[in-house]
Symmetry: C2
Subunit: 451 residues, 2 copies
């Protein structure tokens, strides 16, 4: 029998769950500390909600749910053909699995607009599904942890998102660099190049500079029909260096003719100012090559990289001025970030940063020596649990060796043994599984010791 799960999906065993919950709990704690409130949306959305929101490629990666019952009813027979897959899919499937948390959130906001108090700060931690080709570190079911604030233009929101990023990674012990850019600056650059309508081509090329180098980027731009002269304007932008303020001053000169560009610079100055004042401990760095989610962000663009780790971005976000516009609700500006739980997991594992106690679940196992001893132990067990201490009794009177092995394999740090002798003197033998020490204790002291 073939026992398996769909490729790109995972089971999470108790040890993995403990580590994952450590990440989720940390993120949640910080989100709450900053006044963000939880929301959850269904795994399935109407395909009309999802389709067209992630580009053509994204549409292909949506998992679609087959309609129940006779899904061919009323489907014209000419659609039943391999060259009619998209229209046929439309007829036999009206629901799809959530592809990210952003579009469902936008849908949520529009649907519940009369109940929402603005500004609305929400967080959402749920799995998303993409029919991507699975590979190392890329899954078909993975988890996003999003925080967004909508209904406020204030740049204080961006600053707060940086604080949240800083707090989360400080708490997790991961040293990070927060990279910042602003879509308005990218727009300004395209503008002074006289290529406002080619913004996407330009930023896609710029985005590759770290990977491929200046020459390759130039070549790509030439290939896209951008003239040498125009590329010359771009060149100083690409080779910008110095502190954030030095970079901004230089950009101020370059973009002096672009109103949009100058607004982008002013916005970034404000955000850097907040970051200084709020004592953000992570490095916050202007990176003009940062262009993620360009079709989407309208102001700040944020990306977080773990220092000394060979992994992509572990958190990202930005400002969007028209999130809910796709669902007909105009003028709702917002800013948000998304933590990639799976990559953060990999960084913590690689750097051995998971706390030891996140693996410990049950604190004490009562060994089961027989019917009378079981009664004796059950009473103590109830008292132990009454103190909020996770405890178990081995459910069967098995060999002592087997019970000790169970405690060992389960990482249970304490074992209680009580046989005839202990029962007569009303004590319990407490074994410390780590240092192998043991103590004979009456119940009140046992409870003290286990706390």
């Amino acid at each position: 029998m073939n026992i398996s799960i769909p490729k790109g999906t995972r089971d999470f065993s108790p040890a993995e769950m403990a580590k994952r919950n450590y990440i989720f709990d940390t993120v949640k704690k910080i989100f709450k500390l900053y006044g963000y409130q939880p929301v959850e949306t269904p795994a399935m959305e109407n395909l009309s909600t999802l389709t067209g929101k992630y580009g053509e490629e994204g549409d292909k990666l949506l998992f679609k749910v087959l309609n129940s019952g006779n899904f061919l009813r009323d489907v014209p027979s000419e659609l039943l053909s391999e060259d009619k897959i998209p229209p046929l899919t439309n007829r036999i499937s009206e629901k799809g699995l959530r592809y990210d948390l952003t579009v469902p959130f936008a849908r949520y906001v529009v649907q519940h607009r009369n109940d929402i108090v603005l500004p609305f700060k929400r967080y959402q931690i749920q799995p998303v599904w993409r029919a991507d080709r699975p590979q190392k570190g890329r899954y078909r079911e993975f988890f996003q942890c999003d925080a967004d604030v909508i209904g406020s233009d204030s740049l204080l929101n961006e600053a707060e998102l940086l604080q949240i990023i800083d707090a989360v990674f400080s708490e997790l012990g991961i040293e990070v660099t927060i990279k910042l850019n602003n879509r308005k600056i990218l727009g300004g650059i395209a503008e002074i190049m006289g290529q406002s309508d080619r913004l996407t081509d330009i930023t896609v090329a710029i985005d590759k500079i770290e990977k491929t180098g200046l020459d390759a980027v130039k070549k790509e731009l030439v290939g896209k029909g951008i003239s040498d002269e125009q590329i010359k304007i771009l060149e100083p932008v690409l080779s910008l260096s110095g502190t954030n303020e030095e970079k901004l001053s230089r950009m101020e000169e370059i973009l002096s003719e672009s109103e949009t560009g100058m607004r982008g610079i002013a916005e970034l100055r404000t955000i850097f100012g907040y970051a200084d004042r709020l004592n953000i401990s992570a490095t916050v760095e202007l990176d003009l090559s940062l262009a993620r989610g360009l079709n989407y962000y309208t102001g700040a663009i944020i990306e977080v990289k773990a220092q000394n780790a060979d992994i992509g971005s572990i958190c990202g976000g930005g400002r969007y001025d028209n999130l809910t516009g796709i669902f007909g609700l105009k003028n709702v500006s917002g800013a948000g970030i998304s933590f990639g739980a799976d990559r953060i997991y990999d960084v913590l594992a690689e750097k051995n940063l998971f706390p030891q106690n996140s693996l410990e679940t049950t604190r004490v196992l009562f060994v089961n020596m027989g019917a009378k001893e079981e009664i004796y132990c059950l009473r103590a067990l109830q008292e132990v649990r009454g103190k909020g201490i996770a405890a178990e009794i081995y459910p069967e009177q098995a060999k002592l060796k087997r019970q000790m092995e169970y405690a060992d394999k389960r990482n249970i740090p304490f074992v209680v043994i009580a046989g005839q002798a202990e029962m007569e003197t009303e004590i319990f033998l407490l074994k410390n599984m780590n240092n192998k020490s043991q103590k004979e204790l009456p119940l009140p002291q046992l409870l003290e010791e286990l706390k």
Copy 2:
């Protein structure tokens, strides 16, 4: 634009999330206290894992995920017909959404059998999906909270499950009756009626006695071809009354010729004995009409009803001797329970049992009076958050009235106001939103007051 979600699914707003998390957190806390460990499985399973496990009706209620890409490739054209829906579905869909947590857990155990330490106590809290007709209290996406222990025959496990049920509902403040039965007793009844092969018909009929009464049950049995004589044997079983021990004694007489039946009685006696000794506060009651999940349970059958609430069972479970047999792994016995989070939610809501503070999220809002005041408040805000107190600053310098309304609508219990006067004397004005009192405090006292 039609903005909606698929029927039978729900969004959970912050207020609902707080209440739901109160339930999940309570259940989780108790599960952990008893040594159960978390496991999660993917939303999608291979259809080969799910199909045939829930009966013919269940197969129809599975949500099936359409294969990606050209799903018609290699599909014979004769299958593209409304009267070929099941075989066509098989060809164009190989994955389905989880229908419950039990079958995925069985699959998990078999797949990971070499890594699991027996006895294995796992809990799992995840949504499941069923293409049922949505109606009040019945959803297409709903949440189950399961705890199972496998690899141990000991009846102590059943007793512990009763303790867990008792602890969860005590903690939630819901008074419940735990109904107990044993599949072996039902088997014994069919045996002495000479109708062992008709066990399902008999128990389906018995199951209805509360709803339809004795006469209707008799009529149904006659309709199924059970003779009057055989029904006479059943009659005393159906009209059993008295204490649990009185009922068991009477059953002992009736079933004296059935070895299976007598074993069922002995098992129940042991479990009732544990329940007495462990001071279970809920009423634990023998109910021979209890036949849920009959095809599945082999020993104890458990069902929990809220007292004085017009709602079905809010928790159920039992002993199964062959959970993993469907996936080829024999002789793994287990026992488990499942809490129905949605029904528990309804009971808590109806009886007004949700704790007040589960609605409170942010503890204090700093009013934003302008640029300088913002800087003054941001410093205090950081200190407040540093104490682990959830706090916000209104992101914009809006009218005071609007900011106060925000605090009010969000149920934020404290508001801090600091203007020119407060800045000069380095104090903060703290308003209590519930009793409208206010205090002028320097930062250290403010922190004290908010804790």
